[in-house]
């Protein structure tokens, strides 16, 4: 068996309840349980997280930088997607 540094996993941490999970970095581990413990020891030992996700790096599908134009740009010129487009009569409470 060829020696390895074990497979790579990406780690996402949630700083507090209600917050989104954010990418914190990576760890190496043989399986999910080990990845979870390693993620806690590396990225959460100072109490920085209330929740952890670990994902094999190979499972992440990323957009390509070349996609940026068709994929992301068109939204910016369509005002109706933004709340400011909609006017509400004075005195009416929306929420």
């Amino acid at each position: 068996m060829a020696d390895t540094q074990l497979p790579l996993w990406e780690v996402f941490t949630q700083a507090g309840h209600g917050a989104p999970h954010e990418h914190a970095g990576s760890v190496h581990a043989a399986d999910a349980e080990q990845a979870m413990q390693n993620a806690r020891d590396v990225y959460a030992r100072r109490g920085e997280a209330v929740s952890l996700w670990v994902v094999p790096s190979s499972a992440i599908i990323a957009s390509a930088p070349g996609d940026a134009g068709p994929f992301f740009d068109p939204g910016n010129d369509k005002a109706y997607r933004h709340p400011q487009f909609y006017k509400v009569p004075r005195g009416v409470k929306v929420f």
Partner: protein, 263 residues
């Protein structure tokens, strides 16, 4: 002519059982934490260096807090550093299991597992004690040791049910460590005396549950439980293996070379 008497007591009477009891708790963790800290920079993979340092840090921290409480209980002005650095081997009260050299990674993890499985049961009883300060320390330590148990039992499984080589090393470790486990469940006059302080740990019941946990993990790890032989004993009374002396010589050398100095 009267002959001066040389006969002494077979065993020392214990003046302060609570102090003795806290030393046992604190010394177990300080010594085990020290042994685990020897791995820093030498672990089998980077993530494990971090994991083992985490365990070492928790255990030394617990040892420090417990020895501090012991010093207060003794009431002779000794703090945790005075107790850690200026007692000799006969005054240490840890079980022999924790003072054994770290060995290979299998030895370290099997020993850690055997201790963690005991520790979580002991701490669970201690956190219910009416001696408030100890209950508080035990509750915090229980969270930490539960995490350690998850880690160490995981490794016992991986090594036992890994490769032929890891299985052989894990089995050897278990065989060598087994005779040191009995001491964890001893019960004596000190345990009896501290019941009055609200510290009630049913060692026999804990041993029974520990045996179940250990039997379950070793079975899943495809390891064979050793048959009980003569159990090592003496640590609780200051009678240790030859290993503790070397360990303390190293641990204490700088502090002892500058008595009274601040660090």
């Amino acid at each position: 002519m009267t002959v001066p008497s040389v006969a002494g007591k077979r065993e020392e009477e214990i003046a302060n059982p609570l102090f003795e009891y806290l030393l046992r708790l604190g010394d177990d963790r300080l010594v085990l934490g020290h042994r685990m800290s020897e791995w820093c920079g030498h672990g089998p993979i980077l993530e494990e260096d971090i994991a083992m340092a985490n365990i070492a840090l928790d255990l030394v921290g617990q040892g420090s807090s417990l020895l501090q409480l012991a010093g207060v209980t003794e009431g002779a002005g000794r703090d945790e550093d005075a107790l850690a650095y200026f007692r000799g081997e006969p005054e240490f009260r840890n079980a022999q299991l924790v003072e054994l050299p770290k060995g290979d990674f299998a030895f370290t993890m099997v020993r850690q597992f055997l201790f963690d499985a005991y520790s979580v049961l002991q701490l669970d009883a201690l956190q219910k004690s009416t001696f408030a300060q100890l209950a508080g320390l035990a509750s915090k330590a229980l969270k930490e040791d539960s995490y350690h148990l998850r880690h160490s039992s995981d490794w016992v499984l991986r090594l036992g049910d890994g490769t032929e080589e890891s299985h052989a090393r894990a089995q050897t470790a278990l065989d060598e460590l087994w005779r040191f486990t009995g001491e964890l469940f001893e019960s004596d006059a000190v345990d009896e005396a501290v019941r009055d302080k609200g510290i009630v740990v049913d060692q026999a019941a804990i041993q029974s549950r520990w045996q179940q946990v250990v039997a379950d993990v070793t079975r899943r790890a495809t390891l064979t439980l050793p048959t009980a032989g003569a159990a090592a004993t003496g640590g609780r009374r200051g009678r240790h293996t030859e290993f503790l002396g070397h360990m303390l010589a190293e641990m204490q050398i700088v502090a002892r070379s500058h008595p009274g100095a601040k660090w």
